[in-house]
Amino acid sequence: MTTTQTPAVPVPATTAPPGKRPKRQREGAAWVFLSPWVLGATVLTLLPMAVSLYLSFTDYDLFNAPRWVGLRNYTQMFTEDPRYWRSVTTTLTYVVIAVPLQLALALVVALALKNMRRGKGFYRSAFYAPSLLGASMSIALVWRALFNDGGTVDHLTGSGGWINKPGWALLAVALLTVWQFGAPMVIFLAGLQQIPAELYEAAAVDGAGKWRQFVSVTVPMLSPVLFFNLVLQTIQAFQVFTPAFAVSAGKGGPADSTLVYTLYLYDRGFVASHMGYASAMAWVLLIVIGAVTAVLFRTSRSWVFYASEGDR
């Protein structure tokens, strides 16, 4: 690298000292710094989204030019594709299992770590580690080996291979996600440390026990953080792909029991080469996630407590 030797961008220091640059120049600098993001957002997000919207109205096999079919992809999805509806049910089941379990686990561990005096740093890192590892394909493959018949779980519990039983396979996938509770845990920890100690002292003086303190102080004070985690994890759960793909070896089996929405989308787009159909599926998912998030925001008014409002 030779760039280190070249002097920094020449600054017209004599006429305009850094603090008093004209507004337009300041905006120019902002754009320069923003450009990687702007470029990325346009080329990698907005443009593909626009193309995908167009493709969702076409029959496109990735090899030949897209052919306009109007709403056929959408009508086929809703009226003629039983597997599509199975994937919807599977995804909803997954969201309902994985999100609460993961948030509960994250909260419990965060509470345990909050009051820990020694080895805090070590345990925090240890509990966060799965989130760093879990995204990798190798862990998903380890998971597959753990829950296969003749695998560790089979040996320990005698329950057979989970991933070969339609009723159990999705649970194995969900557990892989739940295990990666590091990110919400760290956010919970930060939230817990924001709660003023005097609230607990006051509650203790009033005779509140540990449980009462948790319900009446911790939960309301933590509710904005809980809400944030809930929204984030729900959105992520709707988009779950890697664990389901790896645990079912890409097939969403057995008997479609782990065929989550994005896995079916991938299957339609890249395995069956119906990219138009897959694009239509992606847009329906976007709208559904948007709607679910809107509903969550609406309900939040009744249970999320912001300290600033409380002052009024």
Partner: protein, 427 residues
């Protein structure tokens, strides 16, 4: 909203990301080549085929010092998925092994090079014209068949003999097969065979035994939901009796011998193609035997000789001449033929086939003998399957999963399949 943006464009973005990753891999490979021409050659197969292919490729590299060949292989299911993504991303390998099902789609999708452009390097004059024509689409040669194969009932020789059940003869019907499997299950205490219900290939053999076909001449479905219901009712009953493998075993099939019930020691017999059955030898050390596929009730044979696989060249390869030289070497070179034996089926080069027939040994001889025992008894192969069949093969397995896990009746699943197949073939 964080996370939102990742959804709407996920299809295209995934393609982009994959391209970037794959391009990255290719790039690093080329720099490692040290100025040499680097070819990527991919195939599916078992470890035995891999070892022999590596040997043949090493010989090619010795004869062409300026070429380096990067090889990679996997099981059939994984290979099919990976190649589909590479092909759609415009990053198909320079030389690739192809299934009959992929030729039509990839040729008309401009993934494959018109081999007429490299005919000076790639010689096909010693290949039977009828066989060669299976790699033609719209009058152009896009792929060269690499071997001739046929399906087989492959069984653990020792286990079957020890059970005392009479061994299969030169031909048998599906009901004789079912009776033998039932007896085997009783004597050995484990399923006689893999459940053939999940296999579109086995279904095709059964269907042809009744004079029908998977597809009509104009690429429409050649059978009805009634036919499929009959087939699935037949296999479902055997599964319930414990005669064929349970759903938990069947669902693990992925095209590799390691995950078959026979390979895992959970059944006595299996259905497979003849050449890849060499893979069982590592798993069933006492040896396996090849028996013919069951025929229709009146003795009509369902199995047929088909090109077991093809070699094609990527349309966007930067080294068409070298790629053609590699294909030519794998098909027409004496030394390569000796190394490869019958690992991809019986060789297609007539001269080589005649020369090597007497030299074949071990399992290669088994495959060769098996094919000669069938010679003259089989009917003509069907025409190349339509593009949609590539996806339908997977759909078939999925719909049968619903039957074997008892979530649907054979009738319901069959009707689902027929609906899905019609939609697939229409588009």
């Amino acid at each position: 909203m964080p996370g939102h943006r990742t959804k709407g464009f996920c299809a295209s973005a995934a393609a982009l990301a994959l391209c970037a990753v794959l391009a990255g891999c290719g790039g690093s490979g080329e720099s490692a080549g040290g100025g040499k021409v680097v070819l990527r050659y991919t195939w599916w197969g078992n470890p035995d085929r891999a070892a022999r292919t590596e040997q043949a490729v090493a010989l090619f590299e010795k004869e062409h010092p300026n070429v380096r060949v990067q090889t990679s292989f996997s099981g059939y299911d994984a290979y099919k998925q990976k190649l589909a993504i590479q092909a759609t991303g415009g990053d198909a390998p320079d030389v690739m092994q192809l299934d009959y099902r992929q030729i039509d789609q990839y040729a008309s999708g401009h993934v494959l090079l018109d081999l007429g452009k490299v005919e000076d390097t790639l010689h096909t004059d010693e290949i039977d014209t009828g066989l060669l024509a299976t790699g033609r689409v719209n009058g152009r040669q896009y792929a060269i068949p690499q071997g001739r194969g046929t399906e087989t009932v492959v069984y653990d020789t020792k286990a079957w003999k020890d059970s005392g059940v009479p061994l299969p003869g030169k031909s048998w019907t599906w009901s004789q097969w079912a009776d033998a499997m039932r007896e085997l299950a009783e004597k050995t205490g484990r399923p006689g065979s893999v459940d053939p219900g999940q296999s579109e290939d086995a279904f095709e053999v059964w269907l042809r035994g009744q004079g029908k076909a998977l597809y009509t001449k104009d690429n429409r479905l050649g059978f009805t939901a009634d036919d499929l219901t009959k087939w699935w009712t037949f296999t479902d009953r055997l599964r319930r009796e414990g005669v064929v493998s349970p759903a938990e075993q069947t669902t693990q099939l992925d095209g590799s011998v390691e995950n078959t019930p026979l390979g895992r020691g959970k059944a006595t017999a299996d259905f497979n193609w003849d050449a890849p059955s060499s893979g069982y030898l590592a798993l069933v050390p006492t040896g396996v035997t090849l028996a013919p596929m069951p025929s229709g009730q009146d003795g009509t044979p369902g199995q047929y000789f088909k090109p077991s696989m093809f070699l094609g060249i990527g349309a966007h390869t930067s080294h068409p001449e070298q790629a053609a030289a590699l294909v030519d070497f794998l098909l027409n070179d004496d030394q390569a033929a000796k190394i490869l034996g019958a690992t991809r089926g019986i060789p297609v080069n007539e001269t080589i086939r005649k020369q090597t027939a007497s030299e074949l040994k071990d399992f290669d001889k088994t495959v060769s003998d098996f094919q000669s025992s069938l010679e003259g008894t089989l009917k003509d192969p069907p025409q190349a399957p339509p593009s949609g069949d590539n996806a339908l093969q997977t759909t078939f397995q999925r719909d049968y999963d619903q039957v074997s896990y008892e979530r649907m009746s054979p009738r319901e699943a069959a009707e689902n399949y027929v609906t899905e197949a019609k939609a697939e073939l229409r588009s």
